[in-house]
Subunit: 144 residues, 2 copies
């Protein structure tokens, strides 16, 4: 947690930031900025949408949350609960369901691929972004 008792951050401990971190850390899912805004309003009625965007940017930069693009025109945010894991998503094109797939860094299926790229192109990977689009179990049945 970035907020302990004393000063432990290079940023100010504001109500908006505390509330937003608390909200996201307790939410399983992939909320958009606007969804987060409305949720946050329940706790902090005066909060503004711009602050939500600014705070999401900040937390993304710090690495406390991750921003995802699932191709529906808006960014989605997720709290990073496990620092030692990679997190992949399967997105159903039919019903929109998002399936999470988490693996430890050690057993990351992309590990070898990433290593080979770093060598082959002398490219230093800082982050990667992988999504799978298709049909979930349920929607496959419905198609028949």
């Amino acid at each position: 947690m970035p907020f302990g008792k004393g000063r432990c951050w290079r940023f100010r401990r504001t109500q908006a930031r505390e509330a937003l971190i608390k909200l996201l850390s307790r939410t399983k899912g992939h909320l958009s900025a606007e969804e987060i805004f409305w949720e946050l309003k329940k706790v902090l009625p005066g909060v503004g949408l711009a602050t939500v965007y600014r705070t999401l940017d900040l937390l993304t930069e710090i690495g406390l949350i991750k921003r995802y693009d699932f191709k529906d025109g808006k960014a989605r945010y997720e709290f990073i609960h496990n620092d030692n894991a990679e997190h992949y998503h399967l997105i159903c094109k039919n019903c929109g369901k998002i399936i999470d797939y988490e693996v430890t860094l050690e057993e990351d299926p992309l590990k070898d691929f990433k290593n080979s790229i770093q060598k082959k192109f002398n490219f230093k990977i800082e982050s990667s972004d992988l999504q799978f689009y298709g049909l979930c179990e349920n929607c496959q049945k419905l198609e028949k």
Copy 2:
């Protein structure tokens, strides 16, 4: 090629579509809709931006081109030259350079990962989307 001599498509053969396909098939790179619009205007001065968007959607649906999101706020499009290959991108966060990495489907580094997902979640993958963000060779040197 979708345009042969006679009727070979379920869509009409229009000037805009022919010109756009010709343009993209000859362009190496990752053009945005607007860049494509201005290029197309050189050949077809009367063309409208909406038509460009509509045609790009159409060609994407058909599978003649692929739409990519490199996190710069606009979609980018690329002609699919090789149907039997997967195409990955390395994007330099510093200079914006995009490195293409193409592999045949047989030697796709994601092959096993995809198979395991299809089994594990009973999820039918239709497409996947993988980008690597980081520092290219040149920008790594500059950082020092």
